[in-house]
C-alpha cells in the first residue's frame, strides 16, 4: 500500500493514506451507466415496437445488425456495470481482506462466465446455429 506524501507520521506508521486508485473505477461506473441509459431505452423501445414477442420474431430481430450489435453491447456493458457496482457493495460490507478478495474474484468469474454464455447465445442466433 502506498502512502501519500501528505500522510502524517502516525498515518505512515499505520500504513494508512490514499489508496491512489479508485478514480478510474468511479468514472467507469458512470460511463457505463450513461451507455446503459441509451441501451436500456433501445431495448424497451425495441420490445414495445416489435410486432410480436415470439421466438421466431426475437431470433429474426437478433439476427440483424441493428438487433445483435446493441444487444451484445448491452450484455457486455451491463455485466461490467454490475461488476463495478457489486464490487463497491462487497468492499463496503466485507471487512476481512481475504474474504473480500475471494468474493470479488468469485463475482468476476460468475460475471465473465454468464456474459460469455449470453454472447455465445447471441452468436448462435446471429450466425445460424439456432433453430
Amino acid at each position: 500500500m502506498s502512502v501519500g506524501e501528505s500522510a502524517t507520521p502516525l498515518g505512515t506508521v499505520e500504513g494508512l493514506g490514499s489508496a491512489r486508485e479508485g478514480g478510474e473505477h468511479w468514472l467507469a461506473e458512470r460511463v457505463t451507466s450513461a451507455a446503459l441509459l441509451l441501451l436500456g431505452a433501445w431495448l424497451i423501445a425495441s420490445l414495445l415496437f416489435l410486432p410480436s414477442l415470439d421466438q421466431r420474431t426475437m431470433a429474426e430481430w437478433l439476427s440483424t445488425p441493428g438487433g445483435a450489435v446493441p444487444m451484445a453491447l448491452l450484455v457486455v456493458t451491463a455485466f461490467v456495470h454490475a461488476l463495478d457496482g457489486m464490487k463497491v457493495v462487497v468492499d463496503d460490507y466485507v471487512h476481512d481482506a481475504g474474504n473480500r478478495f475471494a468474493l470479488n474474484t468469485l463475482l468476476l468469474f460468475v460475471a465473465v462466465g454468464a456474459a460469455s454464455l449470453a454472447l455465445f447465445a447471441l452468436g448462435r442466433i446471429a450466425f445460424g446455429g439456432a433453430a
Partner: protein
Amino acid sequence: MLVSILHRVTGAALATAGLALLVWWLMAIADGPDAYAAFTRAAMHPVGLVVLVGLTWAFFQHLLSGLRHLVMDTGAGFELATNKRFAMLTLAGSLILTLLIWVPVLGGLL
C-alpha cells in the same frame, strides 16, 4: 436516505436476478421454440410475473436514482428541499413507468 439504499438494493437485484434472466432469455431464443416456450411459461407464471414486475420497478428506480446521482456528481441539488424533492420524484417516476408498461400487459392477460 431511503432512495440511496434503494439504489444499492435495486442494483444488487438487477445484477443478480436481472442479468440471470437476460442470459436465460437469450439462451432460450438461441435454443429454439421449445426452450423459448419453457421460458415464457415460467415468465407468465404468477411468481414469474411478480419477479418481472419487481425487476421492471427495480430497473426504473435504479435508473432514476442513478440519474439523480449523476446530477449530484456535478455538485448540484444538495439543498435539502431540492434534494428531497428529487428523491421523491425518483420514487414516483419508477412507479409510474412500471405501471405504464405493466398495466396494459396485465390487462391483456386478464
